[in-house]
Symmetry: C2
C-alpha cells in the first residue's frame, strides 16, 4: 500500500472526475489511472478495493466542498438584510457551478449510499454537519429568519442545485434571480413587529 499523499489525492480527484463524467458505472481503477495520467495499476497500489476508493472519495468531496473562509468574511460585512441572505444563496449556486464535478460525484455517492450503510453513515454525517453549521452561522450572524428558515432554504436550494445539475431546462421559465430572491423572502417569513419597527 503506497503512502505518497500528493499522489493519493491526485487519484481521488481523478476519481471524482470519473464519477462525474461516467457515473459510478465507469468508476474503475483503470479509468482513474487513465484520467490521473498515471500508469495502469497505480490505483490498485493505492486502494485495496473499489469500496475503499469510494469511501475515500467521500472524504475528499467533503474537503472540496468547504467554502473559502475569506470570501465569507468579506460578504458578511454587509448589513443583515434579506438581500444578504439572497446573496449567500447565489454564492452557493456559484460555488456549485464552479465545481460541478464534485457536486455530481456527491450525487452519485448519495445513490451509492443507498446500498452501502457505511457510506451512508459518512454522508449523513457530512450533510448533517453542513446543515447544523448553516443554522449556527445564520443565527450567530443574526441574519433574518429562524432555524426553520435555514432548513427550508437548505431543502429548496438542494432541489434547485440538483435540477440545475441534471435537468437545467426545467427551471428556465423562472429566472434564478427572482426565484432565489422570492425563495429567501418567503423562507424568512413575515417581518415580525419588533424587527419591522426597527427598520
Amino acid at each position: 500500500m503506497r503512502q505518497n499523499l500528493a499522489r493519493r489525492t491526485a487519484l481521488l480527484d481523478a476519481a471524482i472526475e470519473v464519477l462525474a463524467r461516467d457515473g459510478s458505472r465507469g468508476l474503475t481503477f483503470r479509468a482513474v489511472d487513465a484520467l490521473a495520467g498515471v500508469p495502469t495499476g497505480t490505483a490498485s497500489n493505492y486502494f485495496t478495493s473499489r469500496d475503499e476508493l469510494i469511501a475515500q472519495v467521500a472524504q475528499r468531496t467533503r474537503e472540496r466542498l468547504t467554502p473559502v473562509e475569506s470570501e465569507v468574511r468579506r460578504t458578511m460585512r454587509a448589513p443583515r438584510t434579506r438581500d444578504l441572505v439572497t446573496l449567500l444563496m447565489h454564492q452557493l449556486l456559484d460555488r456549485m457551478r464552479q465545481d460541478r464535478p464534485t457536486y455530481l460525484a456527491m450525487l452519485e455517492l448519495r445513490l451509492e449510499a443507498t446500498r452501502r450503510p457505511e457510506l451512508r453513515a459518512v454522508l449523513v454525517d457530512v450533510f448533517s454537519e453542513n446543515l447544523r453549521e448553516s443554522i449556527k452561522f445564520h443565527l450567530d450572524a443574526d441574519l433574518p429568519g429562524d432555524e426553520t428558515t435555514v432548513v427550508l432554504l437548505y431543502l429548496a436550494m438542494s432541489g434547485l442545485l440538483i435540477d440545475d445539475l441534471t435537468v437545467p431546462d426545467v427551471l428556465t421559465p423562472y429566472p434564478y434571480d427572482t426565484l432565489i430572491a422570492t425563495m429567501v423572502d418567503r423562507a424568512i417569513g413575515p417581518r415580525d413587529a419588533t424587527r419591522q419597527s426597527l427598520t
Copy 2:
C-alpha cells in the same frame, strides 16, 4: 424484436427494480432477466441495446409516477385552506414511500441524463410537464398561494424527497409534520388583505 407488451412491461418494471437496487452500474440485460424471472437472453430479444432499454425505462417511470385520479378528486372536496396544501404534500411524500424503487430509478436516470442528451430531453419533458401541471392544478383549484408558491414547493419537496431517499437521518431532528406545514405556510406567503377579510 419481440412485441409482447405485457412481457415488455414486466421487463421494464424489473429494470426499474434493478436500477433502484444496484444502480445504473448493475443495469444489464442479465440482471433484468434474472429479476423478471425470465430466461437469460429475453431482454436481449426485447431491446436492441442498453441505451434503448434506458430510454424505455424513462417512459415507464413516467407512467408509474402518475397519481391516481380518484384519490386526488376525493382529497379536493375539502375547503381551499393551507392545511389542504399541506395534505397534498404529505400525499406526495406517501406516494414516494410506497414506490421508492421508481423514485430511486428516476434519480439514477437523472444522473444518466447528464451523459445522454436524448435521455435528458425526455426527463426535462417529464419534469417540466409535471411542474406545469402542478401549477395549473394549484391555480385552477384556487388553492392559496401563487405560481411561485408551487415552484418553491416543488423545489423544497424535491430536496426533501431526495434526502429521504438517500440520507434520511439528516432530517430526523425536524419532524416532517411540522416541517412540511411550515414549508407550505411560508411558501404561500402572508395572507393578503382580501383573503384575510374573507376568512
